[in-house]
């Protein structure tokens, strides 16, 4: 049998599933966004075509733009801090020392814990009355009164939770990259008189470029789409939603499917645009 027919048979099941549950919903979602589909139309029963009305409404929606702003600030902070954090751990684990395997195993723990549970865990730590953070800082004499962290410092809270919960993969990727750098490169550099900083700048960073590119993309995409982690971390504030959460509420709390799909598409476009920007600027390996 010709390879192409065998191949077609082999990829058919996967293609059907991916098309049916990824691509087709994407198109259907766009179709929905051009219609009014909400409680007053009995959802699909009396859905009517309204062109780009939903999209126009999005542009005038103050809370959507607030959530977009929040999501982008969060994403920017997390990309920078998360990358540095992951790089730090990777550099440490790359060295030989006693207990290295324990640390490497520990990296997998936050990855294993479900995002929802991680978010809950941190909301409990940040809790204004009973949280560990307040307790520890108070016992250490660093604060006199308990701070309501999630109310007063919401973004740092979710960034910190993200550093815990979502950097494991980046750490492992960077570690794999570090381990692939031949030690002979460092040796000859030292012989030539390079300092530790110099070795880092001129050997480590350039050799790590492919992994750095992947890590930056992964962190950005995850940050733009975050949902599970922040579910418990909004601290009760009424204007504090990331985009995914805002879209979710509009779609399923208010049952405005036309509006929700329009926003969902916008988020999708933004996500793809960001990936394209990364890919074109960091070119290598694609």
């Amino acid at each position: 049998m010709k390879p192409r027919y065998v191949a077609a048979a082999l990829i058919l099941p996967a293609s059907v599933v991916i098309f049916g549950f990824y691509l087709y919903p994407l198109f259907y979602s766009f179709w929905l966004s051009l219609h009014e589909v909400n409680l007053s139309t009995g959802l699909m029963e009396r859905a009517r075509f309204v062109g780009f009305t939903n999209f126009v409404r999005v542009f005038g929606d103050k809370y959507f733009w607030l959530s977009a702003q929040l999501t982008f600030s969060y994403a920017a902070a997390v990309v920078i801090l998360g990358f540095l954090w992951a790089l730090g751990i990777a550099l440490v684990v790359n060295e030989k020392f006693k207990g290295r395997n324990i640390l490497r195993a520990a990296i997998l723990v936050p990855w294993a814990v479900p995002g929802l549970v991680s978010g809950f865990m941190w909301s409990w730590i940040f809790n204004g009355d009973l949280g560990a953070l307040n307790g520890a800082l108070y016992d250490l004499g660093l604060i006199k009164e308990y701070v309501v962290w999630m109310q007063d410092f919401p973004v740092p809270c979710i960034v910190l939770a993200t550093l815990w919960a979502s950097t494991s993969l980046s750490t492992l990727l960077l570690l794999a990259g570090l381990q692939g750098i031949g030690s002979h490169l460092y040796e000859s550099a030292t012989v030539d008189g390079a300092s530790a900083v110099g070795r880092f700048r001129h050997i480590t960073l350039p050799m790590l470029k492919p992994q750095i590119a992947i890590v930056l993309i992964l962190i950005s995409l995850d940050a733009l789409r975050v949902f599970d982690l922040i579910y418990y971390l909004s601290g009760g504030r009424k204007d504090f939603f990331v985009m995914s959460y805002y879209i979710y509420r509009q779609s399923f709390a208010f049952l405005d499917f036309g509006y929700g799909t329009a926003m969902g598409w916008l988020l999708g476009i933004v996500t793809i645009a960001v990936s394209l920007i990364y890919i074109t600027r960091l070119g290598e390996g694609f």
Partner: protein, 282 residues
């Protein structure tokens, strides 16, 4: 002297990272096993006076938790089997068979992974509803599987590509057709890859929240959505302050996450190998 400073800094950093990773989770565990009175003491005590697992026990054996746990098991195992079966076929084709538009299809595999779940959930909900599949296992397995497939195919493709062509050529010379080559040569060698992907799939399904939140109902409620209802459903009479959902949800969170933590630690090597396979060239 320089080396000593370096070593000291190294151990300090390692210790700091280890503490940062483990302490928050241990705090959660501590909340779960503290005696009721101490659970919400101000300022919070780190080490409980004595360990009290009664709340954990009553939650674990409650119908609500148990059925959610069972649902998680069913969906995670079924999804894993389905994803592995379907993806290994496609991955083999991508790795070893020439066919037109291969690179376009590969790129589209990467592309679909960028689509946010929230962008496709409404259509999925609508046609699952139309098919009567809301609150059924099938209605959960297929969407969750679809989200996992692109990267599982990608990862398995990498594992297939690492099989030496010489072995494949030998099998073909012995007269095997494509399917037999797949079965006799590739599958045994790709077993580590299948294990890694199996673990990813299982854990991904186990931990999923958003799709189950929308697509499951009272019959098939999975653990993560169930967690958000613990306070309401379990209504335990514990002497804690009103509005304090924490001890119950904390216990639920610990009980939900222990299985996957154990899995991750057992399959460490496979996971790390699978995740980083594509990252380093050569």
């Amino acid at each position: 002297m320089r080396r000593t400073v370096h070593r000291v800094l190294l151990y300090l950093s390692a210790f700091f990272f280890l503490a940062f990773i483990l302490l928050p989770y241990l705090w959660l565990v501590r909340t779960t096993i503290s005696p009721h009175i101490e659970m919400l003491s101000v300022p919070p005590k780190w080490i409980p006076q004595k360990i009290d697992v009664s709340m954990m026990r009553s939650i674990f054996f409650s119908d609500f938790f148990f059925s959610a746990f069972r649902n998680n098991l069913v969906v995670s195992i079924a999804t894993m089997v389905f994803v592995l079966a379907v993806s290994s076929l496609a991955a083999f084709a991508f790795a070893r068979l020439p066919f037109p538009r291969k690179s376009t299809l590969l790129k589209s595999l990467l592309f679909v992974q960028m689509i946010p779940e929230v962008s496709i959930i409404i259509p999925i909900f609508l046609y699952m509803n139309a098919l009567g599949l809301i609150d059924t296992y099938a209605g959960l397995i297929f969407p969750i599987a679809a989200v996992q497939m692109p990267y599982v195919v990608w990862m398995l493709k990498g594992f297939y590509e690492s099989v030496p062509p010489a072995l494949e050529d030998a099998a073909r010379m012995d007269g095997c057709n494509d399917f037999q080559v797949l079965q006799k040569v590739f599958l045994p060698l790709v077993l580590p890859g299948l294990t890694a992907c199996g673990v990813f799939s299982f854990m991904g399904s186990w931990n999923s929240f958003f799709f189950p939140l929308i697509l499951s109902g009272s019959q098939t409620k999975m653990l993560m959505p169930a967690l958000t209802e613990f306070q309401a459903q379990l209504g335990l009479t514990v002497a804690y302050r009103e509005g304090a959902i924490y001890p119950v949800v904390a216990a639920g969170g610990v009980l939900s996450s222990i299985p996957v933590i154990i899995l991750a630690l057992i399959y460490q090597k496979w996971i790390i190998r699978g995740l980083t396979r594509g990252a380093v060239k050569g």
